[in-house]
């Protein structure tokens, strides 16, 4: 569930969104986008949660990898459908991960 990313630096795309009530096609498309992202060069993993607000963070090896994914043909169609149907609002933030640290209960 917590993405196993390599040592920094790497990149993160934070996608924060609020959905409309329109459901048709959303779940299938979201699932297909995860499948396609996993095939992209430079894809490192993702984490996603929704409870009213949705936060999806995808991790990438480079800004080029993020740009290629943004321009991937099926993803472009999904983005357009997202704006037309599924999202009331969203904000996308492109970030460079400079440092990270983690904790696992087994370390106690």
């Amino acid at each position: 569930m917590i993405a196993a990313t390599p040592n920094p630096p790497y990149y993160a795309v934070i996608f924060s969104s609020v959905r409309t009530e329109f459901e048709e096609g959303y779940a299938e498309t979201a699932e297909e986008m995860v499948r396609l992202a996993e095939e992209q060069e430079g894809y490192l993993g993702y984490e996603s949660v929704r409870d009213g607000l949705g936060i999806t963070v995808s991790y990438w090896a480079s800004l080029d990898a993020i740009r290629n994914w943004k321009q991937q043909t099926d993803h472009q169609v999904a983005q357009k459908l997202g704006r037309a149907n599924w999202y009331a609002a969203y904000k996308t933030r492109i970030c460079k991960v400079e440092r990270d640290y983690e904790f696992f209960e087994s370390e106690k």
Copy 2:
């Protein structure tokens, strides 16, 4: 719900976590930490969702602001309690937000 952050560059702390089943003190402490973070210099906003996995992203004006918050006394106590009681695992990623863009339904 989606944080109204200024134009980049600014900083983000992505805190991805899995909780234990231990509830005592968690909600009150989480609420108090939000209140204290809001008082910190350089605090810009936050977004938080949990549904099994939890993702909380806080936004900051500088790395110094993030460092000061990490070292804030009450926050240090909360971090220690978090590792001892409330979290099975977490990963914290310190990021520089280089670019962002947004969409609101009213733009259609």
